[in-house]
Structures are given as C-alpha cells and as structure tokens.
C-alpha cells in the first residue's frame, strides 16, 4: 500500500469530525453560508471534499465517484479511511465529482414516504463565492447569494420537494451547501 493512502486522514477523528460536522451542518442549515474546514486531504480532491467524506461516509453509505476522480489512489484512500462501498449513481447515498460529471446521472431522490432516502452530492467547484444566484428559503433570513454550478438544474431539483437531492459544494478548504428547499430566483 502506498504511503499516500495512509495519510491525509484525521489525526484525532472524534474531535476533528465533530468540528467538521458543525461546519457542514451550519452550511446546510444556512444555504449560501461559506465555511472553512481542515484536517484531511485525499489524493486528487479538495480538502473540503476529503473532510466531508471522512465526516459523513462509512460502510453504510454507498458512494459514487465521478469517472475523472475514479483513480486507484482515491479508491484506496476511501477504502482505507471510510470503507464506503463504491457504487453506480442509482445506488449512491453520496456522490463526489465535478458538476459536469454528476449532471444528468440517475441519483436517488427519495420516495414520498421517505424523502430522506436521497443522495447528497459533494460537488468539486473551481471557485466558491457569495456571488451570483439569489437564494431564498429555510435557513436564509432575507436572501443570500452563492456561485452555483448550474442554477437551472438546481431549480429543477427544488421543484421535486419534498423529494430531491442535497448538495455540498466544495472548493479548497471551503464548503457551502444547497438543500432541496432553497429557491433560486
């Protein structure tokens, strides 16, 4: 096994994952808010995506890896640090990749009795800033702005409510979230 596979995890998982979850949770609770995380680095992906994987994924969460990220290094890192099984989009609880590779895939959106049985997409972004699309909805006082990868596709997702996917957008050590409730003007 390569050294890089063993590295890049949390040195103190209970405390680091607790701090990381607080950042992910407050991002999901307040769409548009951009939080900073640290402490993990998987091969070929951002710190924020690495932290999200370590904090949320384990043997109970099937994960879809977009083709360009589907390298032996990252597969091994995920297996070693999370043991999440890698699956096709339709079976995924989580997915990781750039927007262009996740768009149009057939991810679970939940079922009417269990809308929570839906995928959370961790989207690697080239940039993340409080600019661009206007967001309204739960978690937002009046309005917020966020640089979305694809406002039209996200609008379509919002229309599925209470079904739909939820998104964690990552760039470097920063992350933001877009739950299915956020309305985009």
């Amino acid at each position: 096994m390569q050294v890089s596979v063993l590295e890049g995890g949390f040195a103190d998982a209970p405390v680091q994952s607790a701090r990381a979850f607080r950042e992910i949770m407050t991002a999901m609770a307040q769409p548009g808010r951009i939080n900073t995380v640290d402490g993990a680095h998987a091969p070929g992906i951002s710190v924020a995506s690495s932290v999200a994987l370590l904090t949320l994924c384990d043997p109970d969460t099937p994960l879809y890896l977009a083709p360009s990220l589907d390298t032996a290094d990252l597969r091994n890192w995920i297996a070693f640090h999370t043991a999440a099984p890698l699956v096709t989009p339709d079976k995924a609880s989580f997915a990781l990749g750039a927007w262009s590779e996740l768009l149009g895939q057939d991810f679970p959106i939940g079922i009417p009795e269990y809308p929570d049985r839906s995928a959370t997409l961790i989207v690697e972004m080239p940039a993340l800033s409080a600019t661009g699309a206007t967001l309204r909805g739960p978690g937002i006082k009046d309005m917020a702005r966020l640089s979305l990868p694809d406002a039209d596709a996200m609008r379509d997702n919002t229309r599925l409510f209470p079904l739909g996917m939820d998104f964690i957008l990552t760039c470097g050590s920063q992350l933001a979230a877009m739950p299915r409730t956020t309305r985009i003007d």
């Binding site: 994952s17 607080r22 609770a29 739960p138």
Partner: protein
C-alpha cells in the same frame, strides 16, 4: 471515570456519523421525521435520550452547553445531562441563554431570543403529530406524503365545538414551510411563535427513533382557523418574582395554606430580570 475513558461525547464515531447524516437530511426537509437507529444511553428514556444523542452528535469541545427542563436549569434531569456532557465532551456549561452555543431543552423555548449560531436541541417523547389519530406508522407516513392533514383540522375543530376554543395547550401542531405538519414537542403553545427563530432547532426522539429539524428563519405556522385564529396564551398574571408580564408562567403553591404564586418558568430569564431590578 475520567473523560479519557470515553469516546468524545460518549457515542462511537459510526453512531455519530449515522445521527449526523440524519440531522443533515432533517435540515434539508424541514419538519419531516428522519428515522435513525437510537442507541442505549446511560440514562432512562424519559430523560431525553433522543435529545442527548443529537446533542452528542453536534457538540464540539469549544461549546458552552445549557440544559433546561421545563425552563429550569436546576432539576435533576437538567443537572444530570449537563454533568454527562461536562464529563464526556469536556464542554463548558452555563445557565445563561445568551452564553450557550448548544441548549438542550425539555418542553420550553428560552424567553430570550436565540441568535445565529446557537443550536436548540429538543427532547421529544412522541414525534408524530398524527399518532393520536392514526396508530399505524405506515399510515401516518402515507398521510404526510399525501399532505392528508384534514383529520388534524377536524380534531382541532372538534375542540372548538366542545370547548369554544382549541383546548390543545401543549405540543400544539404546526405546519412547516407550508408542507409538513410537525409536533413541536410538548412546549406550551405560548412558545409556538418562537419556533421561527435565528437559531438552528433539532428535535430528537430516542424511544421513537426520529430526528427532525428546523433551519433558521424557517416558516412555522400554528394550525388554526380563520374564525378561530391561533392564540399564544399564557396565565394572565405577572411573575411574582420579577414582575414580567411577557413570559410564560408556572403556578406554584407556596405555603401550607395553599397560597398560589405565578413565576417565570424560565429561571435564567427571571433571575436576570431580578438582578437588573436590584442593580
């Protein structure tokens, strides 16, 4: 035992991840009850094991924790939960609402408005607002999925027919963002208007294995009728200790002769007002 004898915040990492995932889905679908696999906690169910598990999953070592039981910080239940997290998570504790990052509550919302960044964790005995109308979980899930809330309105209207007003005083049902009907836990209906707030609200039911959530500023409306609008009522008195006329009051028998007194149920709010007056 020392803190080092436990995992941080007592629960193992896989359990916390499972609860954390449920919390995220709860926040993404406000008012919807997310199932989770509740764990045995070193306290009886009546002591809010659902709330304790949610608190354990969201807590960081830098937090300051407040625990209230019907508004009071000093009941056996509140003291035990506070000590539990002091010991297992090493967090600071406080009785002051404005100094807490995480507030675990049984059956009250603090009088003082919460601010952004504060997290309110409710202990919930019965998470399903439709349960008393329909005992089957399969059926209540179906009712929520179809927004079949007519029976709920019928029940409230029967109250009006019988009592001239809606008799439900606690756990008064609300509609979240015009979609899910939610049980706000057995808070007095006086607290319902505060459910739309700047803080994050998380609800944990241990025995029933459900987590649900309200992000900040979520639209929460108490069910009512045009001719019988919702009223956030309280006892029509002032607090006997601090004189507040805007707080929720408990009625207490204060001597052997059965003399009664009304006082704030929120002990921190009341103490703060008494200090202000004394200063």
């Amino acid at each position: 035992m020392k803190m080092s004898d436990y995992n941080f915040a007592y629960l193992d990492e896989q359990t916390k991840r499972m609860i954390r995932r449920a919390i995220l889905k709860g926040l993404a679908i406000p008012g919807y009850q997310v199932p989770f696999a509740s764990r045995e906690m070193p306290m009886p169910y009546g002591w809010g094991t659902g709330g304790v598990q949610v608190s354990a999953a969201v807590m960081v070592p830098e937090d300051t924790l407040k625990v209230i039981d019907q508004g009071a910080d000093d009941t056996t239940n509140a003291v035990s939960i506070r000590r539990f997290f002091e010991k297992t998570a090493g967090v600071a504790v406080t009785e002051h609402t404005d100094q807490a990052n995480v507030i675990q509550t049984r059956h009250r919302i603090p009088e003082q408005d919460l601010t952004e960044g504060q997290i309110l964790v409710y202990q919930v005995p019965i998470p399903e607002p439709l349960r008393f109308l329909e005992p089957s979980e399969v059926e209540t899930r179906k009712m929520h999925s179809l927004e079949e809330y007519g029976l709920m309105h019928v029940k409230l209207y029967e109250d009006i027919a019988q009592h001239g007003a809606i008799a439900t005083a606690y756990a008064y049902p609300v509609r979240v963002e015009g979609r899910y009907v939610m049980d706000p836990s057995p808070i007095p209906k006086f607290d319902n208007p505060k459910l739309t707030m700047a803080g994050i609200q998380l609800f944990g039911a241990g025995r029933e294995q459900r987590i649900y959530a309200l992000p900040p500023y979520t639209d929460v409306v108490s069910l009512d009728f045009e001719d019988f609008p919702f009223e956030a009522s309280k006892a029509d008195h002032a607090c006997g200790l601090c004189g507040a006329i805007d707080s929720y009051l408990d009625e207490l028998i204060v001597d052997d002769q059965g003399a009664r007194m009304f006082m704030c149920s929120d002990t921190d709010y009341c103490a703060g007002r008494q200090e202000e007056t004394a200063a």
